[in-house]
C-alpha cells in the first residue's frame, strides 16, 4: 500500500438488516481509491449507493444500515471496525462531510461561525482565536461577501449559495485530509451553482485536500473531478480518469447516462429543430396577469409574485417556462389553473373570459385544464389504489362507472407505459418514475386540452426523466394536448419545448421559439442563464468564468 492513497475501500459491503432477519444488500463489494490531492467523483442515480459509499469514509452508516464486509481505510486505518468513540477523533478532523442541503444541515439556533469552529474548538484541537482566524481565512478563500462579519449571522440570514460555501468552510476548518462532498450544488440554481463550484474547486486546490465528490450530474463532475467512478445498484460499472469517461464511455450504462443527461453544447443546440408554431390556434391565454400572496392592500397583495404576464398556449404545442427558484414560474401555473386568482389581468380559454378562481369555473372548464404536480410522492393519496386514483377524474368529469371506468383506467395505464396490473397497487409499491407516470395518467384521465406540468421531471433520475419527457412528446403527438412545461432545467426544456418563456423575479424577460432563444438570446439574464448550464467537457467552468471576466 502506498502512502499516496488517502482513502480506499476494499470489497466494501453495506447492507440493511431487516426485522425478519434477512439482509438487503445496498453496497456490493466496491473497490476504489482516492489519491492524495485528487478529486474522485462517485456518479450514479438514486439507489446506486453513492452516498452510502461516501459516508463509509467517515465510518458512518445512515440509520438502518450496517457495514457487512470489506474495509474502508482512511490513511491506512480501517474504519468499519472502529467504535463511535474512535471515529469521533477522525470525523471533522481527518475527514469532513459536506451535505446536499446546507439550509438543513446548519443548526438554525446557532450562529454560523459557532458551527464552523465548534468541531475543532470543542475537542481542543485549536484555540478559539486560531479557529476564528482559520475560519476568516476560509471565508476569504471561498469569496464570501463581508468575511469579517458573515460568521456572526444565523443560517437563515444568508443566501443558499453562501450557506453552501459556508458549509465548505465548516468542513475545511479542521484541515481534513479528505473532504466528502455529497451533491453539494444540486439544490442550487444554475447561476449560483457556477460560483459555488468555482469556489469549491479553488479551495480544494489551495488546501491540497483529497475529495470524494458525489453527484448524479456528469457535466458538473467534469468540471471538478480528476477521476470518475460510475456506480449502479451498489456496484462499480466503470472507472477511470474524467476525460476518458466523458469522451470514451465504454460501459453501456455510462453511455445511457451520458445520453439521458442531454449534454449541453453548441453542437446539440444546432440539432434543435423546432417547428414554427405561431400559426396554430390559441387554446388558452394569460393577458397582463399579475398575482401575489399575502394580505391585499389597495387592490394588490403584499408580495407580488407575478407582474404583467402575457402567455399564449397554442394547440398541440409546448411552452417551456424557465426560471430559477423564486422567479414565479410555479405561481404562473397556479394562476392558470385557478388555484391562485390573479388580482389583475385576464385569463382566456378559447378567447372567452375564464373565472379567476377554480371555485367559480364550470366543470367543463376545469376538465380542460389539468395540473401535474412536481412531487408524485405527495400528490398521490397513499391509501388509494392506482385504479382509484385514476378512476376519480373519470367518474367526476366523464361520468364513467363500473366496467367502462375499469377499461379506461387500463387504457390510460397502457398509455403511460404501465401494465394494467398496476391498477390494484398502492402508490408506495411504485418507483419514483412509475409514480410520476400515474400522476400523469390521472391528469390525462380528464382528457384535458392543456396540461400544466410543474417541474415534473425534477425529482427523477436523468434516465427516468428522459423517459417521462419522451412519453409527454408522444402523448402530444397522439392526442394533441397543449403542454406548459415548467422547469428550472434549461436542457430539459430545450429538448422538447416549441417556445420558451424566460422568467425572472416575477416578470417575463424574454420569449420566442426555442431555437431562437437558445442560439441568440437577447436579454442579459437569458444569456447568463444559458451560459451557466454546465457543458459536458472539462475546462468549461474556467472558460465561462474567463469569458465573463473579460466582458
Amino acid at each position: 500500500m502506498t502512502t499516496d492513497i488517502v482513502f480506499e475501500t476494499q470489497d466494501l459491503h453495506v447492507s440493511a438488516p431487516q426485522q425478519d432477519g434477512s439482509v438487503i444488500p445496498i453496497v456490493k463489494g466496491v473497490d476504489f481509491q482516492v489519491p492524495r490531492g485528487k478529486v474522485v467523483a462517485l456518479i450514479g442515480e438514486s439507489g446506486s449507493g453513492k452516498t452510502t459509499i461516501s459516508l463509509s469514509s467517515l465510518g458512518y452508516c445512515k440509520p438502518g444500515l450496517a457495514f457487512s464486509g470489506g474495509q474502508a481505510r482512511l490513511l491506512g486505518e480501517d474504519l468499519c471496525s472502529q467504535t463511535n468513540e474512535d471515529l469521533r477523533s477522525i470525523r471533522g478532523n481527518k475527514v469532513a462531510y459536506l451535505a446536499q442541503s446546507a439550509a438543513a444541515t446548519f443548526n438554525p439556533a446557532m450562529t454560523i461561525n459557532e458551527q464552523v469552529i465548534e468541531s475543532v474548538v470543542s475537542r481542543g484541537l485549536m484555540t478559539r482565536e486560531s479557529a476564528d482566524a482559520r475560519a476568516l481565512e476560509l471565508y476569504q478563500a471561498l469569496d464570501l461577501p463581508n468575511p469579517d462579519s458573515i460568521g456572526a449571522r444565523y443560517p437563515h440570514q444568508v443566501s443558499g449559495g453562501q450557506l453552501q460555501r459556508l458549509m465548505a468552510a465548516m468542513a475545511l476548518c479542521g484541515k481534513p485530509a479528505l473532504l466528502v462532498l455529497d451533491e453539494p450544488t444540486t439544490a442550487l440554481d444554475v447561476t449560483t451553482q457556477i460560483e459555488v463550484l468555482m469556489a469549491f474547486k479553488k479551495v480544494i486546490r489551495e488546501e491540497g485536500t483529497a475529495a470524494i465528490y458525489v453527484s448524479h450530474d456528469l457535466a458538473v463532475v467534469a468540471q471538478i473531478a480528476d477521476y470518475v467512478v460510475v456506480l449502479r445498484d451498489g456496484e462499480v460499472k466503470e472507472r477511470g480518469p474524467t476525460a476518458a469517461i466523458i469522451n470514451h464511455p465504454r460501459h453501456p450504462y455510462t453511455k445511457r447516462l451520458m445520453a439521458a443527461a442531454s449534454p449541453w453544447s453548441a453542437e446539440t443546440l444546432s440539432r434543435i429543430d423546432t417547428e414554427d408554431v405561431t400559426h396554430r390556434t390559441t387554446v388558452a391565454e394569460a393577458v397582463n396577469v399579475s398575482a401575489g400572496y399575502g394580505i391585499t392592500w389597495n387592490g394588490a397583495p403584499r408580495f407580488k409574485a407575478l407582474e404583467s404576464i402575457d402567455m399564449t398556449i397554442r394547440k398541440g404545442s409546448t411552452v417551456g417556462v424557465i426560471g430559477e427558484s423564486g422567479s414565479g414560474k410555479s405561481t404562473l401555473a397556479r394562476v392558470v389553473a385557478g388555484l391562485l386568482p390573479p388580482f389583475d389581468g385576464d385569463l382566456l380559454l378559447d378567447g372567452r373570459q375564464l373565472e379567476p378562481s377554480y371555485r367559480r369555473r364550470t366543470r367543463h372548464e376545469l376538465q380542460r385544464i389539468q395540473f401535474v404536480y412536481q412531487m408524485a410522492d405527495t400528490a398521490l393519496n397513499p391509501r388509494q389504489t392506482v385504479g382509484d386514483i385514476i378512476g376519480r377524474p373519470l367518474e367526476f368529469y366523464l361520468g364513467l362507472k363500473g366496467k367502462e371506468k375499469r377499461a379506461r383506467v387500463d387504457e390510460l395505464l397502457t398509455l403511460v407505459d404501465l401494465s394494467p396490473e398496476f391498477a390494484s397497487r398502492h402508490p408506495d409499491a411504485l418507483s419514483g418514475g412509475q409514480k410520476q407516470r400515474v400522476n400523469l395518467a390521472r391528469s390525462l384521465a380528464a382528457e384535458p386540452e392543456v396540461l400544466l406540468c410543474d417541474e415534473v421531471t425534477s425529482a427523477l433520475d436523468t434516465i427516468v426523466a428522459g423517459n417521462v419527457i419522451e412519453l409527454l412528446q408522444r402523448l402530444q403527438k397522439d392526442i394533441g394536448v397543449s403542454i406548459v412545461f415548467i422547469s428550472h432545467d434549461l436542457s430539459t426544456v430545450a429538448s422538447f419545448a416549441d417556445e420558451i418563456v424566460v422568467m425572472n423575479q416575477g416578470k417575463i424577460v424574454e420569449r420566442g421559439p426555442t431555437k431562437q432563444i437558445l442560439s441568440d438570446p437577447q436579454h442579459s439574464y437569458t444569456q447568463l442563464l444559458i451560459s451557466s448550464v454546465p457543458e459536458m467537457r472539462q475546462g468549461w467552468l474556467e472558460d465561462t468564468l474567463a469569458s465573463r471576466g473579460s466582458q
Binding site: 477522525i90 471533522g92 462531510y97 440570514q157
Partner: protein
Amino acid sequence: MFTLILKRMAIGFVTICAVSIIIFLGTKVLPGDAAQIRLGQEATPENLAALRERLGLDLPMWQQYWNWLNAFVHGDLGKSLAGDAPVNELIADRYKNTLIVSVLTAAVGVPISLILGITAAMFPGSSYDRVLTLVTVSLVAAPEFFTATLLVLIFVFWLGIGNAVVIGSIDGKSFWELIQHFALPIGVMCLIVASQLIRMTRAAVLNVMSSPYIEMAILKGLSRQRIILRHAVPNAVGPIVNIIALNLAYLVTGVIVVEIFFAYSGLATLIVQGVQTRDFVVVQAVGMLFCAAYVVLMLIADIAAILSNPRLRHPK
C-alpha cells in the same frame, strides 16, 4: 417579532372576551333565573319581580352582561345563590389549596419529566426507554381516580404512610410540611402530568434528533452530550414549553377528580358544588377564572415559542 407578540396577545384578549360571553349566555339558557332559585317554589310573582329588579335581572341581556363583566373585572365575583356569601370569600378560602398543589406538582413534576424525557430520547429503543414508555403509556391510559386509589392502597394501607384524606388547615405550615400534607394528591398529579410530559418531551427531542443538522453534528465528531445540549435541546425548546404550558393549565383546571378523591377543598370542588346546587354565580366566576388561567398559560407558551424561534429573534 414584537408585532407578532402583540398580535398574539390581542388574540388572547379576544378569546377571553368570547369565553366570557359563552359562559354568561350558557348560564342564561338554563331554566330558571337567580331570583327563582333563591325564592324557591313558593315565590309569588310580585316577590319574584321585586327580586329581579333588585338583582338587575329585568335589564336587557347585553346590559346584564356588561354589569356582570364590569363587576368581575373590578374584583366583585357576585354573591353565591346558596347562602348569599360573596363568591370572593368562597374562593379566598379555597384557592390556596389548589394553587399550592399545582405549584408543588409543577415544581416537582416538570424538571423530573424533562430529564426523563430527554434521556429517553438520547437512547431510543434502549430497555430504559422501553420501560419508561410502558409506564407512561399505562399512566396516560389509567383514569385519575384509579391512579389515586392505587397510590392510597400502596402507601396508606400497605406501607402505612400518608393520609388517604387530606384535611386540616395549611396555615403556619412550612414548605416541607406542606409537601407532606399534600404528598398523595401531589403524587397523583405528578404521575398524570409527568406521563404526558415525558412522552411529549421525548417525541419533541426525537423529532429534532432526526433532522439533518444533528447528523451533521455527528459527522463533525461532536460528543453526544454536546449534540444533545447544544444542537437538539435549543431547537426543541419551543414545542417543550408548549407542552409544559398545556400541562400546567391542566393542573389548574383538571384537578376535580383529585380534589374530590382526597376531599380537600379547592377551586375545582367549588365549581362542582356550584353545579350540584345550581349556583350558577359560582360556576360563572370559577369558570371565568379557569378560562383566564388557561388563556394566560397558552399565551405564555406561544410567546415562548416565538422567542425561541431564531428566525423571528434575528430577522434578516
